[in-house]
Every structure is written in structure tokens, then in C-alpha cells.
Symmetry: C2
Subunit: 345 residues, 2 copies
């Protein structure tokens, strides 16, 4: 049995869609046991509606507080210690669950994970990994926002974590890893990426060199590594441009009657582009490198994406992604120690 805690209060449409998503997950994944963490008074109605309060694979844990989206992330550590995400992290720390899913405040989820759950041995900073759509298939981008300021050694560890995730996600050996920069050549980039390039080139990974903002869409690597500031801006830029494109297309399609007709015919095509913009399918982004599994869903998660997020959380446990990361960190420990002593010289 895989034990997953779900933050019932996290997300724009919580707790309604979260409880609905849990209900679907209970049917779809009979090997999962779900601990619903939330304000019992606020979720009672939905537990009743979906008849899961007494489900044999459901546990309920009360959480007095919720972190609102406009609160600083540190509230989860300092002010609201009884918030649902803080309690989820404590369950994970105390090994009472194997994984957590939350569609709430991303910063708060990162903060409680870093402070309460801590990182794996040999990993200095956790990173958010996001699955992005490329032209012909998907790729994994990390860090998508956990660390605004990074050192080269952090990016090297992100590469190892991304490799382990990609092995699971793409079901392949030696996934290709690229470093996001402003030119293919080793000499192109900023100080961070130029130093990181040298270190990645010395690692026993399938490092193919620098990739650029346009070539990342050409699926030339399974993993793209960057700092969390860059990754977060890139992710949101894609979201913004996808929404803008939908808006522009609607405009050109409704300019005249002929185009209106074609727009009606092409309704399904639109639906596909929209599903990309909403990114419902992916379910959630894992926070890699912590001593447990934490999957962070999009704030606008639907019941289906909550179900998908719970699925990913369970698969991370089954596939033992953390065990793979530890193995790779151990194998390359001597090299990384060399880098670090080199940094201090």
C-alpha cells in the first residue's frame, strides 16, 4: 500500500475539486491509501457528497489553517504551523506517509519541504521539475522556481535529479541533458552557465551541451537544466504566450463569416491548444531532492489534474525516484567533492 497525503485546502477550487479528484484516484489506484489533510468543517460536505469519509483507504487529518495564495511562503513555517501543507510535510517527515500532493501555494510547499522534510544526502537544494511540451514530445525543465539564485554545483545536482526523473518519465536509459544558455558553444552564456558547462561535461551523464530558448522546443534533450529564476520566467512566458495565441486566433477566426465557419469546424483543434495552455494532463510538478515525495499541482487544478497529481505521487514512490537520485549522487560523489573544493580555491 502506498500512503499519500493530499492537501485538501490547496488550489483555487479547493476543497471541492480536490475531494472530487481524490474520489477518482481511490477508484483508479486501488494500491493507494489517501490521507486527506484539511479543515474538517469545510470538507465535511464534500466527503459526504462523494461518500468517501468512511472509505477503507481514506484517513482524515484535521488542519486548522490554510495558506492563502497572497501570503508569503514563510507563513507556513512561522505563523500558520497548523496549516494543511505544514501538516502534510510533517506527516512526510515522520514517515507516516510516503508522498504528498498539494495544489496550493508553491512557495509554501517548497518552504515546508526544505525546512521540515529536508534534502536527500548529497543534495544541497531541492528543485521543481516541470514537464514541458516540445514540438514532437515532452521534456523536463528544472529548476522551475524553487531557487532564484543558484551556484554551478546546484545546477549539476539538478542534472542528476532530472536524469533520474527522465529515466522514469520517458522509460529510457541515459536521457539527454542540456544546459539552457544563449548559444550552443561552451563559451556562450553567463558566468553561472559557463562554469556549470565545464562541470557537466566532466560528469558521467549524457550531457549534450548548451540548448537555447528556441531549440528546447525541438526535443533535442529529455532534460533542460537552469536556475529557478530563469525556469520560472520561462514557464510563465510559455503560459502567457499560449494564452495570447488563443486570444489572437479567436480574433482572426471571428473576423468574418467564412472564418467563423472554419472556427466552428475547428473547435476540437482549439480544445487541444487550450489543454496545453491549461496543462491539466501533467497533474503536478515534483519537488526533487527532498527526503520524501512532494508533488505540487497548478493552482487552477481540476478534479482530473488532482487525480493525475496523486497518480504521479504514487508512481514516484513505486519507481523509487529518490533511491535512484541517491545512487547517482553516491556514484558521482567524489567528482562533486572535487568541484566543491575547486570552488573554494
Amino acid at each position: 500500500m502506498i500512503r499519500i497525503a493530499v492537501d485538501a485546502m490547496g488550489g483555487d477550487h479547493a476543497p471541492a475539486v480536490v475531494i472530487e479528484g481524490i474520489t477518482i484516484a481511490l477508484y483508479d489506484f486501488p494500491q493507494y491509501e489517501i490521507t486527506i489533510v484539511g479543515h474538517q468543517g469545510k470538507i465535511a460536505h464534500y466527503l459526504e457528497k462523494y461518500r468517501i469519509a468512511d472509505h477503507p483507504r481514506v484517513k482524515l487529518v484535521h488542519a486548522e489553517d490554510t495558506i492563502e495564495m497572497d501570503e508569503p511562503a514563510t507563513v507556513a513555517i512561522r505563523g500558520k504551523k497548523k496549516s494543511s501543507i505544514t501538516i502534510c510535510a510533517k506527516l512526510l517527515r515522520d514517515k507516516e506517509v510516503d508522498a504528498v500532493f498539494s495544489a496550493g501555494h508553491t512557495g509554501a510547499a517548497v518552504a515546508v519541504s526544505a525546512v521540515l522534510v529536508r534534502t536527500l544526502d548529497g543534495i544541497e537544494r531541492p528543485a521543481i521539475a516541470t514537464v514541458m511540451p516540445g514540438m514532437y514530445g515532452k521534456y523536463i525543465l528544472l529548476d522551475a522556481g524553487a531557487n532564484p539564485d543558484c551556484e554551478p554545483i546546484n545546477l549539476v545536482q539538478f542534472a542528476l535529479m532530472g536524469e533520474a526523473y527522465a529515466e522514469y518519465f520517458f522509460n529510457m536509459e541515459r536521457p539527454r541533458i542540456g544546459l539552457l544558455s544563449v548559444g550552443e558553444e561552451e563559451t556562450k552564456g553567463n558566468e553561472l552557465t559557463k562554469e556549470t558547462f565545464k562541470k557537466l561535461a566532466a560528469m558521467p551523464i549524457n550531457f549534450i551541451g548548451n540548448v537555447e530558448g528556441n531549440t528546447i522546443f525541438e526535443n533535442i534533450t529529455e532534460v533542460v537544466v537552469c536556475d529557478g529564476f530563469m525556469g520560472n520566467v520561462l514557464l510563465k512566458t510559455c503560459e502567457g504566450l499560449a494564452r495570447s495565441t488563443m486570444y489572437w486566433l479567436k480574433g482572426v477566426f471571428t473576423k468574418n463569416a467564412l472564418r467563423k465557419t472554419s472556427a466552428i469546424l475547428a473547435r476540437n483543434a482549439f480544445r487541444e491548444l487550450k489543454s496545453f495552455a491549461d496543462a491539466e494532463e501533467a497533474g503536478g510538478a515534483p519537488l526533487l531532492g527532498i527526503n520524501g515525495v512532494m508533488i505540487i499541482g497548478h493552482g487552477s487544478s481540476t478534479a482530473k489534474s488532482v487525480r493525475n497529481g496523486i497518480k504521479v505521487a504514487g508512481e514516484f514512490v513505486e519507481y523509487d525516484i529518490n533511491g535512484r537520485i541517491i545512487k547517482r549522487v553516491t556514484e558521482t560523489g567524489a567528482l562533486i567533492a572535487d568541484f566543491e573544493s575547486g570552488n573554494k580555491n
Copy 2:
């Protein structure tokens, strides 16, 4: 008469489309005098074809070399001193022309400008400004790639330069300026942006605070400021995603006969999205902050975009963007000096 030097050898389709673009510009802008800088043997055929060799507003300057796209930018300074872009920069330095347009190697254009033409008094680093499409209109992004590593003071100067450009481009007073970051709050960002936020907030500009990767498309500011690494990745990401979207749309539109019909009807709609991806309209991106006018065109420039780039070059001179930048730098000089002494403490 506005004197503009055009790099005839720059761009994927040079010199053919460049000479064609010059020909159109000569007709459209009777107040421009154009110095065509290029290998006379290689451009003779096109000068003949378009009958402009003896045009009263054309001068010819021979350039023995060309910087190839895969050469390092420094070649323009060290190895190929007789390259077309290097000669263009020298003409600008010696005040023999007022402006330069080149669709060649961007790095080389930046390098010769920085080394030969030098920056305006009070500006430490030049920045590439690009006009980007937002949901409802356009906005100006800078730096789009001249400086991979920046200090807060550089971003503050970029804001002043962006303001002057926006006043011209949008024909408005006090354009709104945003700082690209990962959250709206002053406390969100990396070390660079958090320090820059404080400085921008103290400047006599219309600074509206942080903007994010998604909100930049909502036209909440006329100017978006970021370092050149970020800007370059962002720009190329938009290019990559626009191309991917075209590819996906073609796929969904050709899945069945019904959709094929609608795709044929919607041909014009596609054309509009494609024109965005190609960015032909903008013509070129100015390198702001140098002691002259340098407009850098896209490598894939068509004759029309060369014509548009020459137009922008001339308008920069007419509108005296550099005079406006100097005025703003002088007005805020005391404040900036304070920042700089503060940095040294």
C-alpha cells in the same frame, strides 16, 4: 539628409535581399542617404539588377571580409578588421554616417559598437531592445542579449534607455516600466532583481514594479527590463513556442477532412500567426546606449524587413533618441552616483 550605412553582407539571404530592401527604402524615404558597405564584387550583380549603383543618394564602400554566423563575435575586432560590420561601425564612429543597419552577426554588431563607437556618457553598457507582441499590443523588452551578466546599475540604465525608446515608439509621455521577476512583490526575485527593484523605485520614472513571464503579455507596461541572458532566452522561447504552435495547429487541422476544410478557410488566420513568428514587421532591434544609432535585423530578414530596419534607423536619428537618453541620464545622474557609491560600501 539622414545618412545611413547598411551592411550589405549581413543576414541569411545577403546580399540579395539587403540590396532589394535598400532599393525599396530609397523610394520610400527620400530624406535618407544610404552607404552600402559590402564586397563590391559580390554585390555588383544586385546593384545592377536594381539599378541603384549610380543612385544620387547611394554611396558605395568596399568591405573585403564578412563575419560568418558561426564565428565568435570578437573576430570583428581582432581578425577581420575589414569586415562589413566593422567598417560600418567605423563610419559611425567617425560621424560619416548617422546610423547603421545590419542583419548580420548580432554579437559582432554589439562588439564593434561597444569597442569602436563606445557608449553614451553615463551609460556603462549598451542594451538590445526588442519590440515584443503582447495580447493587446506591443511592448519593449531590454536587454535582449547584449549583456549576459548585469549589475543592478545596468538594469537602471536600461530602464532609462527603454523609457526614451518607448516615448518614441508609443508616442507617449511617461511610459510604464516593469522589472521582470518571479512574483509581483518587491521581495520576490533573485539577488539582482531585488536590488534593482529598490533602485528603480527611487528613480523619477513610471516604475510599476515587478512583472512576470505571463503578465508581460497583458500589456501592463510599455517597457520590460531584464538582464541580457534572461532577455535572450525569453525572446528565443517565444520564437520556439510560436513555431511549435504553428506545427501543432497544422497537425490538428489536417487530422480529418472536416478540419482540412476549415484549415483552408482559415488560411489567412495562419498567415497572421506566421507573420508574428517571423517578426518581419519590426525590422530590427536597436542597440541602445551607444554613441550613434545601430539597428540589428534578424538573420532571416526579408527585403521588407531590411526596408523596415532602415526606416527605424532613420527615425532614431530624426527623433534624437540618444539626445533623450542623455537628457534623462543627466537629470538622474546624482541619484545614480548615489547608487554606485552605495554599491561600493
